[in-house]
Symmetry: C2
Subunit: 340 residues, 2 copies
């Protein structure tokens, strides 16, 4: 949370201090409410209208054997999203969020699939081990697809934006991005993703190390094109558009943090619009959040992606806003304050 | 969570492993769903119907100057609960819980107040510094008031029970109970409660130390009568009744943990029915939860009581159940499993 308070953040804090509870006794709920108040420029934030966009893309690096699941699962899971059967569908319903599923780079023809957004830029990236994952034009098109989704959500009234990911192989791409953009070593960042065994894990470490060697010395702004994924580029564009419009985003897991770091290469102040929902079990997520200056709200040992961790914590934010807006004050309730 | 799985817990785990996500990737959400399944004796737990009972009582030890607020605030806050203006009212509405407010020992005449349960056993305890806080008959009557509330809630269909507290001075009573029942020192357990200054904190430490000296060598089962509060006794009775009926309880903060430890003196296996919602900022709460064998879900630096931390995490439990019950399986969704 911001240490330096803006006008409406300090006004929101003053409001908190009038409510019928010992000052500060709601802990992070008070910080969240004041942070949202400041972002919305109001003493009392509006109720949250969350929107989740899940971006799907495939990864050429899967041919290196870095994932426990085959690439075909990306398209199969997009079909599962479209039918409402995945974790993020359930969690979106639980927290009252609208949900869009976006094919930005799946390696299958999903043109006939109803209920998703068709914005396929390319059918999966090239292997980041051997060259750029995508071209500059492809990266910009994927980022624009993300920006378009943020605009559509905000036009629809959303005031809290969540980006989720689906892409077999994307923990490898994200590990590369996090290493490249934080300076951390593969050993500090690479995890087992959806659950590779020890031999595959060691190979994943080597792949990340080699890819980092390939791009050594390049500018930060090239990292997304060289090492990213189409869904990660879309998420970065989504975050940039939200920040430009002044709408908060709730960061999800490992992939989401990698996309946030990539977005920061284009807008250094973007962290000001971000809250971290949870710290995942994936190695390096905590380190990436720290690099973003974010402190996660929850530690549930999750490692699913899809925006699931972010959707899970939305009710905590909704409660923070409701407490801030709906509690009685010492004066209105006739309760003696400690100085009374 | 329990390491030894019952029949329905292992069946619930097998069900989790068929859902369209990498096994274990929902982390603690999977544990929660399987724990609730086991407690309900079902593979798929019923949706949660939470009920919150807030028990209010005053404390004679306040005359020792151990609290930042005067005793009169207990009754004032009960009136605030009755009007719906306190934090727990807001949080109960947020999570869809029913709420009962129970005067079990407030030091004021609340007989004319509508919208609360009148079960006053005594108008505040005696000072635990100089003798027993209450008589054995008073303790049993307060515990019965708690049992009655659990019965009423379960008769109304509740399948998740939360006890909250309101009682100026009750962090002192709870610190005494936690020290007495865990063997921890006052320095490890006593906190600043609603916010006493350093001088008052040192005095609070002395009061707790002296009270512990007074009851040294007495049986554990006497601790509640000697050192407790009427609302703490009611919470202990509430927990005992829930456990006897086989209904899970969600533990709140410092006072709630003290009541749980007191209840365990009467039923050693009671922890099997408990989940810990959060770890509060109050010193010694983490230690009390550890003694109960419980691992908190949230660490938000809260220190309010009222059942607020427990009510806050109810949506996380509701999401755990919804994911467990509503997600598609690999088979039903036609998604390739890692072994497929």
């Amino acid at each position: 949370m911001s240490v330096c308070m803006t006008g409406s953040e300090s006004e929101a804090r003053a409001h908190q201090d009038c409510l019928t509870k010992p000052r500060g006794s709601l802990g992070r709920l008070e910080d969240i409410a004041c942070w949202l108040a400041a972002r919305q420029g109001r003493v009392k934030p509006e109720p949250l209208r969350p929107h989740i966009a899940v971006f799907a893309g495939d990864h050429g690096v899967c041919e290196e054997g870095v994932s426990a699941y085959p690439s075909v699962v990306t398209a199969e899971m997009v079909r599962n999203f479209a039918r409402g059967g995945a974790a993020i569908n359930v969690l979106a319903r639980q927290c009252g969020a609208s949900l869009a599923v976006v094919d930005v780079g799946v390696a299958a023809d999903l043109a006939e699939l109803d209920g998703i957004v068709h914005a396929n830029v390319r059918r999966g990236t090239a292997s980041l081990l051997h060259g750029p994952a995508m071209s500059g034009d492809e990266m910009r098109a994927a980022m624009q697809a993300g920006r378009d989704q943020a605009c559509a959500a905000m036009d629809g009234g959303a005031n809290l934006l969540i980006a989720g990911d689906m892409g077999i192989g994307n923990t490898t791409a994200s590990a590369c991005l996090i290493c490249r953009l934080t300076g951390a070593s593969p050993e500090e960042v690479v995890g087992t993703g959806t659950g590779v065994d020890q031999a595959a894990y060691r190979h994943k470490l080597e792949v990340v190390g080699e890819a980092l060697g390939r791009v050594a010395g390049q500018p930060d702004a090239d990292a997304l094109r060289e090492l990213g994924g189409l869904e990660i580029a879309a998420m970065a564009g989504f975050y940039l558009q939200a920040a430009e419009a002044g709408v908060p985003v709730l960061i999800d897991g490992f992939i989401s943090a990698a996309a946030a770091l990539a977005a920061r290469c284009f807008e250094p102040e973007i962290g000001r619009w971000m809250l971290a929902s949870h710290v995942s079990q994936e190695t390096g997520h905590a380190l990436a959040l720290e690099a973003l200056g974010l402190s996660p709200l929850l530690d549930f040992g999750m490692r699913l992606g899809e925006g699931s961790g972010a959707a899970l914590v939305v009710p905590l934010l909704q409660s923070a806003v409701a407490l801030h807006n709906d509690m009685a004050s010492f004066e209105s309730a006739g309760v003696t304050d400690r100085d009374g």
